[in-house]
C-alpha cells in the first residue's frame, strides 16, 4: 500500500498531523486510481449524464432509467482485468459478482449479464487459450448459479492482450421505481455489514489494479462464492420489501475503507465503526487488513434501529451473517475503533475525494505512420479468403461461449444470444434490448473515430431489433496514464464518445475507467467499450427464416475504410490504414429509417454490417439460415472501389435488410422517401454464396462448408489447439 510523496504531504497538510497506520491504509486504498479516478475524474465531466429517462440519486452505484409504468431499469459495467490475467476463473467470476451487487445496491433485482472478453492470439498462444477457457468457465459458474441469464457480449482476440485478459461485465437490473433505495441516513442509524466473512483475500486489490501487472500477486485476487451472493440477493430484496434499508453500498475495490467513506461522504454524515464487530474468516486479522480486504459477497447497509430485528430475522432465514459494525453520526467523520481504542479519525470528504490530477497528454508518434494504408497484394481467390475470414476466431460463431451460460433463466429472453442484440421482456409490456461493443483495432489507429464507431455499432445492434437507444454505459480501458501518449488516446476516445452521446441525445448513465492495463510487452490497444440499452414499445423484430427468392437490401454507404479491419489484420497480417468514420447525419437517418421499417413489420430480418464487412454480414445470414445467395458488388452504394474494399471494408451505419419479394416495393418507398443510401444487391436461394462484380464471379462458396467452419472452428481451437 502506498501513496505518492505529494499525496502524503497533501494528506498531512489536510489533517494537520501524521496519519496513523490504519488511516494511511484507508487513504491509500481510496486514493488508488481504481477507486478515486484521480486521473480521469476532471475529464469525465464532459459526458452528458442527464436525460428525461435518467433518475439520478446520490450514492447510486448503477445508472437508473425510468422505463414507464413505475418501472426502472438499472445498469452498470465493470472490469476485472488484473485478477483475471492472474487467475482467470476466480477473476472473471468475482467480476460478475461485483457488478451484480452494484445493481442490487439501488434496490433492483439483477436480470441480465453481458460480458466482453479479450485475450491474446488463441491460434498461436496456448496461455491465451487457457485464460479464455477459464474466464468463460468463471463467468458461467457464477452467473448460472445466481440464476441471472448471461444474454450477450462479445469476444475478441488480439496480440496486444498477450499474457493479459480484459474481462468486462455489464449487468442490468429491473424493479419498481417506488422501491428504489433512497440513500438517506440520520444520526443514530445503524451500520450493518451482511454477507460473507472478511478474510485475507483481495488485500490491496484496488492498488494491485492500479499498477502495471508485473508480478502475479495471487493474494490480491478475490475468491468467488456465488451461493452466498445468491442468498444475499434474496435477503436484500426481502429486506427492501420490509423497508429495512435506508442506504446501501456494495463492498468492492478498497473494501470497507471505500464503502464506508464513500457512503458517509455521499450522505453527508459521519460513520463510527468497531473492527471487533466485523465477522472475519480468520481470527487474527489486523484492523488494517480488515479495512482494506476485498473479500467478496459483502454489503454495507444503513438501517433504522427499529428495523434491526426484522433485518436480522431475514438474514437468519437465509443463514447469512449480519453484524452491526457501527453507527451514523452527525459529524462527517469516519472513525475506526477496535473496542475502545481509536485507530482512525478522518474527515470523509478528504478520504472520499483524492487530490485530482491533470495529466499531460501528447499525440502518439506512431499514429501518423499507422494511418497510412499499407500496400496490399490483390488477392486472387476470394472464395478461400472468405472461408478463412469465416473461421477467424474473431468472426467464428461464439456458440461455444454462450452455450455455457444459462441465457434463458428468468424467462425474459425473447431474442437470444447469437443475434445482433439480445432482447428481454419487461413486466410493463415493453422490451429491453442490450448490447456491448468494442473495437481496439479501430481505436488503435484512431482513438476518437474508433470510440465513436464502437458507440455507433452498439446502437446499430439494438436498432436491428427495433429498439431506440435510451442510455449508454462506457468502460474506458487504457495503459499507464502517466504516459502522455496513452493519456492522449484516453482523452480522444472520451471526446469522441461525448460528441456522439450529445449529438444522439443518449445519456451516459454509468461507466468505469481502467488504467494500467499493461502487458509484459507494453500497453494494450485503447479499448473503450460501449454498452447500449434500447427500449421497444411494442414488438421486437424476431428474425424470421430466410427462404428462396427473398431479397437483400443494403442501407448505408460502403467507403474505402479498411484500416484496422479483420481483413487487413487477419489475411494480410498488417496493422494500419484509414479507420472507419461515422457520418453523424447519415447515421441518424439510417437508424430512424431502420426503426420505421421494423415498426411497419415489412422486414424478415435486419442485420448489422460490422467486423469483416459486408462479405461476412451476408455470409452470416446465409449460414444462420442454411441458404445460398447471389449478390452483385456493383450495386453497392459506394464510390468506385477495389473488390476487397467493397467486400471487407468496415464502414459504419450499414444495415442489411432481408425482405420478401412482395414487400420490396414498400421497402423501396420508405427508403427513397427517407432519402438514405440504399440498393437491392442480391437475392437468396440455392446452396452457395455467390458474389459477382459486373457479372463476373468473384467468390463461390458452399454454405454447408462455410457453416461447418463457422460453427465449429472456435470450439475446435479451444479444445484441441
Amino acid at each position: 500500500m502506498s501513496l505518492a510523496k505529494q499525496e502524503s504531504i497533501y494528506l498531512e497538510k489536510k489533517i494537520g498531523r501524521k496519519p496513523t497506520s490504519t488511516e494511511f491504509q484507508i487513504v491509500a486504498a481510496e486514493w488508488s486510481e481504481h477507486c478515486s479516478y484521480k486521473s480521469s475524474k476532471k475529464h469525465l465531466k464532459m459526458l452528458p449524464m442527464s436525460g428525461s429517462n435518467v433518475i439520478s440519486e446520490k450514492g447510486y452505484d448503477s445508472g437508473v432509467l425510468d422505463v414507464g409504468e413505475n418501472y426502472v431499469v438499472t445498469v452498470h459495467i465493470e472490469s476485472h482485468n488484473h485478477p483475471s490475467a492472474v487467475e482467470p476463473f476466480g477473476g472473471a467470476a468475482t467480476g460478475v459478482g461485483g457488478v451484480i451487487r452494484d445493481i442490487l445496491s439501488s434496490g433492483t433485482r439483477p436480470i441480465a449479464i453481458l460480458d466482453g472478453l479479450r485475450f491474446g492470439d488463441i491460434e498461436k498462444d496456448p496461455h491465451a487459450r487457457w485464460l479464455f477457457k477459464n474466464a468463460v468457465s468463471g463467468i458461467a459458474d457464477y452467473g448460472n448459479c445466481l440464476g441471472i441469464p448471461t444474454i450477450g457480449g462479445e469476444v475478441e482476440f488480439d496480440n496486444c492482450y498477450a499474457n493479459y485478459a480484459l474481462v468486462d461485465v455489464a449487468a442490468i437490473g429491473f424493479g419498481k421505481k417506488d422501491k428504489l433505495i433512497k440513500n438517506r441516513a440520520i444520526k443514530g442509524d445503524l451500520v450493518v455489514l451482511i454477507g460473507g466473512p472478511t478474510g485475507r483475500d483481495g488485500i490491496g486489490g484496488s492498488q494491485f489494479a492500479s499498477d502495471s501487472l508485473e508480478s502475479e500477486n495471487r493474494s490480491a485476487v478475490q475468491i468467488p462464492d456465488p451461493f452466498i451472493e445468491k442468498l444475499i440477493i434474496e435477503a436484500i430484496l426481502e429486506a427492501r420489501d420490509q423497508k429495512c434499508i435506508k442506504a446501501m453500498k456494495d463492498l468492492g475495490g478498497g473494501g470497507l475503507s471505500c464503502a464506508v467513506s464513500e457512503t458517509a461522504d455521499s450522505l453527508g454524515v459521519g460513520i463510527e465503526l468497531d473492527v471487533n464487530q466485523i465477522h472475519t474468516r480468520e481470527s487474527n486479522m489486523k484492523p488494517d487488513e480488515i479495512m482494506v480486504s476485498e473479500s467478496q459477497e459483502r454489503m454495507l447497509i444503513i438501517t433504522d434501529k427499529k428495523k434491526l430485528n426484522t433485518l436480522k430475522t431475514i438474514c437468519k432465514k437465509f443463514r447469512i451473517q449480519c453484524s452491526v459494525i457501527g453507527k451514523v453520526k452527525p459529524d462527517s467523520l469516519m472513525q475506526v475503533k477496535k473496542g475502545a481504542k481509536i485507530l482512525a479519525t478522518l474527515p470523509t470528504t478528504i478520504v472520499a475525494n483524492a487530490p485530482l490530477l491533470d495529466r499531460p497528454s501528447a499525440i502518439p508518434k506512431y499514429l501518423n505512420k499507422l494511418q497510412k494504408e499499407p500496400f496490399l497484394k490483390t488477392p486472387t481467390n476470394f472464395s478461400n479468403i472468405l472461408l478463412k475470414m469465416i473461421s477467424s476466431p474473431n468472426i467464428a460463431n461464439k456458440r461455444w461461449v454462450y452455450s455455457q451460460y444459462d441465457h434463458e433463466v428468468g424467462i425474459r429472453t425473447v431474442i437470444k444470444p447469437g443475434n445482433d442484440a439480445s432482447v428481454l421482456r419487461l413486466d410493463n409490456g415493453k422490451f429491453l434490448a442490450a448490447k456491448i461493443d468494442g473495437n481496439p483495432k479501430h481505436c488503435y489507429i484512431d482513438p476518437r473515430q474508433g470510440a465513436i464507431g464502437c458507440f455507433e455499432e452498439a446502437c446499430r445492434n439494438v436498432v436491428c431489433t427495433g429498439a431506440t437507444p435510451i442510455g449508454m454505459v462506457d468502460h474506458l480501458q487504457f495503459g499507464n496514464p502517466e504516459d502522455p501518449e496513452i493519456f492522449w488516446t484516453f482523452l480522444e476516445s472520451l471526446k469522441g464518445i461525448t460528441d456522439f452521446a450529445k449529438s444522439f441525445k443518449i445519456p451516459c448513465v454509468g461507466g468505469k475507467v481502467s488504467f494500467y492495463n499493461e502487458t509484459p510487452k507494453g500497453p494494450i490497444k485503447p479499448t473503450p467499450l460501449i454498452g447500449i440499452l434500447g427500449i421497444i414499445e411494442k414488438q421486437p423484430l424476431r428474425p424470421r427464416a430466410i427462404s428462396n427468392d427473398d431479397v437483400l437490401v443494403i442501407v448505408g454507404q460502403t467507403k474505402n475504410e479498411l484500416g484496422g479491419s479483420e481483413y487487413i489484420e487477419y489475411i494480410h497480417g498488417l496493422i494500419g490504414g484509414k479507420c472507419p468514420e461515422v457520418d453523424f447525419k447519415a447515421s441518424k437517418q439510417n437508424m430512424e429509417t431502420i426503426l420505421e421499417v421494423i415498426r411497419k413489420d415489412i422486414a424478415k430480418c435486419v442485420h448489422d454490417c460490422s467486423k469483416g464487412g459486408l462479405a461476412i454480414a451476408v455470409s452470416e445470414l446465409c449460414m444462420i439460415n442454411n441458404i445460398g445467395c447471389k449478390i452483385s458488388l456493383e450495386k453497392i452504394p459506394s464510390e468506385k472501389l477495389q473488390t476487397d474494399r467493397l467486400l471487407f471494408s468496415e464502414s459504419h451505419s450499414r444495415y442489411l435488410i432481408v425482405v420478401e419479394k412482395k414487400n420490396l416495393k414498400k421497402i423501396r418507398n420508405i427508403l427513397s422517401k427517407k432519402n438514405v443510401e440504399y440498393n437491392v444487391i442480391g437475392n437468396f436461394g440455392g446452396s452457395k454464396i455467390i458474389i459477382e462484380r459486373n457479372s463476373k464471379k468473384i467468390a463461390n462458396l458452399r454454405v454447408d462448408k462455410a457453416r461447418l467452419k463457422w460453427m465449429n472452428s472456435l470450439e475446435e481451437l479451444v479444445l484441441h489447439g
Partner: protein
C-alpha cells in the same frame, strides 16, 4: 386446487415456475421455504431448478436432507403428483424418490441450448395430455444432467415404463438419451429440461404448445383426483 413450489437456498427457477403456474395456467400457487411444514391441502408439488446449496458436494445432495423432504416423501407415497425440474430432478434422485444418478455432462461443461424431447410415457400426471412419441421443443440448462443408472435399474425402468422423456438427439451422453423418468407408481416425475421456459410463445422460438401440455396434463390430473 393448489400447487406448491418448494424453495431451497439457491433455487433460482422458483419465480419462473410460479409465473407459469399462476399467470399462464391460472393455478393457485404458493411458495414453500424448505424449512416449512407443508399443508395437507396441496394437490401437487413442484421442485424447481437452480443451484440448491451452490451444487456443493453433488447437485441436489444437500437439499435432499432438507426438513421439507420428509413431507415430500410422505406426499409421494400418498400418490400426490410431484415434478422435479433440473435441480429439482437432481434433488429427487438424491432423496431416492427416483432411481439413478445425474452425472456431469460429457462435454464437462454447463450446457444451455434448445433441443427436442420425445414422450415415452403419456400416463403420468405431467404427460397425460401428450401423445406417445410427441416432440417437445424445450431448453436444457445444466452442468450435471447426464442421466445414468446401472443395467439392472435401466431394465426395470423399461419394464415399468418409467422412462418419461428421451432426447431426440444425443445431448449430453445420458443413458438411452434419457431426459426424464418417473417412479414405479408414476406420480413422481423428474426431468432435466425446463418446461417453464417453453410454454410462452414470446420466449419459445419454435413451438410453445407441446410444453404447455405438460402443465395442462397436471390440470387434468388434479381435476381427476378431486
Amino acid at each position: 386446487m393448489k400447487v406448491g413450489v418448494v424453495v431451497f437456498p439457491g433455487s433460482n427457477c422458483d419465480r419462473d415456475m410460479y409465473h407459469v403456474l399462476s399467470d399462464v395456467f391460472k393455478i393457485d400457487t404458493q411458495f414453500f421455504w424448505h424449512e416449512k411444514k407443508l399443508p395437507k391441502n396441496l394437490d401437487a408439488l413442484i421442485l424447481p431448478g437452480g443451484f440448491s446449496y451452490g451444487d456443493r458436494l453433488r447437485a441436489g445432495a444437500i437439499a435432499a436432507h432438507s426438513p421439507v423432504i420428509s413431507d415430500i416423501k410422505k406426499f409421494a407415497s400418498h400418490g400426490m403428483p410431484i415434478l422435479g425440474v433440473c435441480n429439482g430432478f437432481q434433488i429427487l434422485v438424491e432423496a431416492e424418490l427416483l432411481p439413478g444418478v445425474l452425472l456431469k455432462n460429457n462435454s464437462l461443461n454447463f450446457m444451455c441450448k434448445w433441443t427436442n424431447l420425445i414422450v415415452e410415457n403419456n400416463k403420468t400426471p405431467f404427460t397425460n395430455k401428450l401423445k406417445m412419441h410427441q416432440k417437445i421443443p424445450i431448453p436444457i440448462a445444466n452442468g450435471e444432467g447426464r442421466y445414468y443408472a446401472d443395467e439392472k435399474t435401466i431394465n426395470l425402468l423399461k419394464k415399468n415404463h418409467q422412462i418419461v422423456f428421451r432426447y431426440a438427439e444425443v445431448v449430453n451422453g445420458s443413458t438411452l438419451r434419457i431426459a426424464g423418468i418417473c417412479n414405479k407408481e408414476g406420480n413422481v416425475v423428474g426431468m432435466m429440461p425446463h418446461p417453464e421456459r417453453a410454454t410462452e410463445p414470446e420466449i419459445n422460438p419454435i413451438d410453445s404448445k407441446p410444453a404447455s401440455l405438460i402443465f395442462e396434463s397436471l390440470l387434468n390430473a388434479i381435476g381427476v383426483t378431486q
